[in-house]
């Protein structure tokens, strides 16, 4: 397949979106939107597969495929162009592959909805933006995709726009993302200022060159750029402090949650950092910060997930938590780990969301864990599909999540131990392990609650599927939960489940992803540095020191790159093996605890919960972070707005009016002289003459 076809990838979904928009216009046309959308995502997937080998082999300038120049002012030039390297291809696989599956599922899930066409328009548009994001050859085009996915997220979260909470959630998502985007935009500005270009390939290669130059002195811009870009990543990928929008975003239809808010969009931040990792390496504090935030977020969100009762909220916090892992991965200088986890997470989290969607669909919109139990009989397929997803998420040995999570934890541990080990990474690795325990626990808490135990369920009020006449064929037996149809809903789930179980093994044992990352810009630049100059440059002490151990991954594949570092390599390998054991144990422990508390002995759980009422309350209310933000940021700003408005009206405009009154006031003050009395006038004239005469004499003599 000719490589040029890759240029079409974003535009096919866009065309699909336009067609869907056309379908919106007439009710009769609406049904066509689903297939159109699926096709518009699936064709790019086929193209991705078709050009994969060609694209992976691109060298040098060929990697940049330009369509046209988007904007240019002076030296600032932005192309509508794509940067094709293996990382791009991995991301394209995830986006179009998972996207096609989810869209297919959605054809069934959204069937009969009034906004069916609108939904698929949003999905196609999203895929356009997301593919643009991952393919962009420059930061501004990346920003276009970045904001574009934000917009689609907004539109899709607000899909049920008659529900105030959906509207609020959509708004929140967009605005919180905007906060991050501002950082990103400023990061772009600073990048342009520093590198005189916004082209990703040039920026990264320049950064690599700086890193390789032992005499290079970091500028303050070098220190700041990563932090600004990071802000964007935190917003998009829902990290502390900007994670608050993601749980609320579950107000959107479930396929949206799966596609946008689990599999693809939220991982954009990870992708961006991985893509620009040399730039991040230039600042000695950037990657440790990323790792720290990631680790803390992972733990923090994991604890919240423990006590949520809303099915999708649990997964939402789980997503936040897993994204934290990914950041920990890239922060630990293992962009492979981050991207690997991104890849596997896309499968199992999409699967989990979609199966949750099936449950929700079956229970007419019921999402409360307390209102359902023992559904395995009613929905066997869903039950075991979700089980597969849960295993992967919990990191059950040899599932996808196990390998990817393990890679990250091991990398962190490698950074945290050894002769140059940094305590920070050691602690982060420990936090990661703790989080793994929590993950296993809350995942299976959910699964056991829903599918095990005595059968019991309360139907929801079917919000989201409301007031639609065409919708009824599925709900003729609305009082009984029912299994989903195989086509179009369960078949994609099976594919996802397959991925959730086996993707990790494939990646781990074939090593293609590691190889891909190495040959892309996402590869940390230290290996190069070490080869050319064993002495780390002083400016990057923290990272480079810890990075002397970094060659272990590459060493397995490229012994040449690791010459003289086999000791380190051995150590790293040992840690990897050790961590596999530990995390297997932890996963099993978590699953066992969950089984005990949420399947076998539920009353005990309630007692324990009652005993730690305060803690549960705090966790249930998500540490009151939303309230905190509301109190500290939203309310004051709005009060400020009211204040400014009043100030504007009273003081600024009042001042204008007052100034306008000055002439009037002056007029009133001299109006008495116009008394109408002739003597008065005469007196005035005479006085005037006298004053004039006196004045002139005073002046003249």
């Amino acid at each position: 397949m000719p490589i040029e076809l890759i240029k079409l990838i974003p535009w096919i979904p866009l065309l699909g979106a336009v067609l869907c928009a056309v379908c919106c216009m007439k009710p009769a046309w609406r049904k066509a939107a689903g297939p159109i959308s699926v096709l518009s995502i699936f064709i790019p997937f086929l193209i991705t597969c078709g050009v994969y080998s060609a694209a992976s082999g691109l060298q040098g300038d060929d990697k940049v495929q330009t369509i046209y120049q988007w904007m240019s002012v002076g030296g600032f030039s932005v192309n509508m162009g794509y940067f094709i390297d293996p990382l791009t291809m991995i991301m394209l696989f995830v986006v179009t592959g998972i996207g096609s599956l989810i869209a297919t599922y959605a054809m069934g899930y959204m069937k009969g909805e009034r906004g069916y066409a609108r939904f698929f328009m949003g999905v196609s548009l999203f895929i356009f933006a997301m593919t643009t994001l991952v393919m962009a050859d420059n930061l501004v085009l990346l920003y276009l995709g970045w904001e574009g996915v934000g917009l689609c997220s907004y539109l899709l979260i607000g899909y049920y726009y008659e529900k105030p909470e959906a509207v609020a959630a959509a708004k929140k998502a967009f605005i919180v993302n905007r906060i991050g985007d501002l950082g990103f935009a400023l990061g772009i500005f600073l990048t342009y200022m520093t590198y005189d270009t916004v082209s990703l390939s040039v920026v990264t290669s320049k950064a690599v060159a700086f890193l390789s130059d032992p005499n290079y002195i970091a500028t303050s811009a070098d220190l700041w750029i990563p932090f600004l870009l990071m802000l964007g990543a935190f917003g998009k990928s829902a990290q502390i402090p900007l994670y608050v929008w993601l749980p609320d975003a579950m107000a959107g239809p479930t396929p949206v949650s799966a596609l946008v808010h689990a599999a693809t969009m939220v991982t954009a931040g990870v992708y961006m950092i991985a893509r620009l990792i040399p730039v991040f390496q230039l600042s000695p504090y950037a990657l440790p910060t990323v790792a720290t935030i990631g680790g803390i977020t992972a733990l923090f969100a994991g604890t919240i997930a423990l006590c949520q009762y809303d099915l999708k909220k649990v997964f939402a916090y789980s997503t936040v938590s897993q994204l934290g892992y990914m950041f920990l991965g890239v922060g630990a200088l293992s962009s492979f780990g981050g991207i690997f986890h991104l890849f596997t997470h896309a499968f199992f989290k999409a699967l989990l969301f979609l199966t949750a969607g099936s449950v929700m669909h079956a229970l007419a919109g019921q999402l409360d864990l307390r209102a359902m139990s023992g559904l395995r009989k009613k929905m066997p397929v869903t039950c075991w599909l979700m089980f597969a997803g849960c295993l992967a998420l919990a990191g059950f040995p040899f599932t996808a999540g196990f390998f990817s999570k393990d890679t990250i934890l091991a990398e962190a541990m490698v950074r945290g131990t050894g002769e140059h080990g940094s305590n920070l990474y050691f602690f982060l690795a420990l936090m990661g392990l703790l989080t793994a325990l929590l993950t296993a626990f809350y995942t299976f808490r959910l699964w056991f609650r829903v599918f095990m135990g005595p059968e019991h369920f309360e139907m929801g009020d079917d919000h989201g599927h409301s007031d639609d006449d065409a919708h009824g064929d599925d709900h003729s037996h609305a009082h009984e939960p029912h299994e989903m149809p195989w086509w179009p809903m369960n078949i994609p789930l099976v594919v996802l489940a397959f991925g959730a179980i086996f993707a990790g093994m494939i990646v781990h044992w074939t090593g293609w992803m590691e190889h891909s990352i190495e040959t892309s810009t996402a590869q940390p630049a230290i290996a190069l540095n070490i080869q050319t100059d064993p002495q780390p440059t002083p400016a990057y002490e923290i990272i480079t020191v810890s990075n002397t151990t970094d060659t272990h991954d590459t060493a397995t594949e490229h012994p040449a790159a690791a010459t003289g570092h086999s000791a380190e390599h051995d150590r790293a390998h040992g840690i990897h093996i050790l961590m596999m054991w530990i995390s297997s144990f932890i996963a099993l422990l978590g699953i066992g605890l969950a089984a005990y508390f949420h399947w076998l002995n539920r009353p005990l759980t309630d007692k324990v919960a009652a005993k730690f009422g305060m803690v549960v309350e705090v966790l249930y209310n998500k540490y009151y972070i939303d309230e905190f933000y509301d109190l500290v940021i939203v309310k004051p700003l709005r009060t400020l707005g009211h204040g400014f408005y009043r100030f504007d009206q009273a003081v600024i405009h009042g001042l204008v009016i007052t100034v306008g009154y000055i002439p009037r006031l002056a007029g009133w003050s001299i109006q008495p002289t116009q008394s109408g009395k002739m003597q008065g006038y005469g007196l005035g004239m005479v006085l005037g003459v006298a004053i004039a005469a006196l004045l002139v004499f005073k002046w003249a003599f």
Binding site: S675, G676, K677, M678, Q679, G682, L683, V686
Partner: protein
């Protein structure tokens, strides 16, 4: 007037006289309310100017000033005629010569 007195009078005496006449007229104009008297006050001011003019004429030893006086007197006469006509008109309207009754227009 005896010669001696004339000789001892200087220009400034005449100017003073003129100025005093002028100022009296001014003060009168402002203080009196009777229209006719007010008009006479303006006439007095004119006469003050006339005295000044004649004095200057004498001082400069040319007769331009005196010529001026003739014209001033003519204008004064014309004004007087006008004034009287106006006063008659006004008196017929209001039945009084008080200038303050003519103060409806103001502001």
């Amino acid at each position: 007037m005896p010669e001696t007195v004339m000789n001892s009078l200087t220009l400034s005496h005449f100017l003073m006289t003129g100025a005093i006449l002028f100022c009296l007229g001014l003060v009168g104009f402002i203080t009196r309310r009777n229209l006719i008297i007010m008009f006479l006050c303006t006439e007095m001011m004119f006469q003050g100017v006339v005295v000044t003019l004649v004095a200057f004429s004498r001082f400069h030893l040319n007769d331009t000033g005196q010529t001026f006086v003739i014209f001033v007197l003519t204008i004064a006469a014309a004004e007087a005629a006008l004034a009287l006509g106006l006063v008659v008109l006004l008196f017929r309207r209001k039945g009084t010569l008080d200038s303050l009754v003519w103060s409806q227009l103001s502001g």
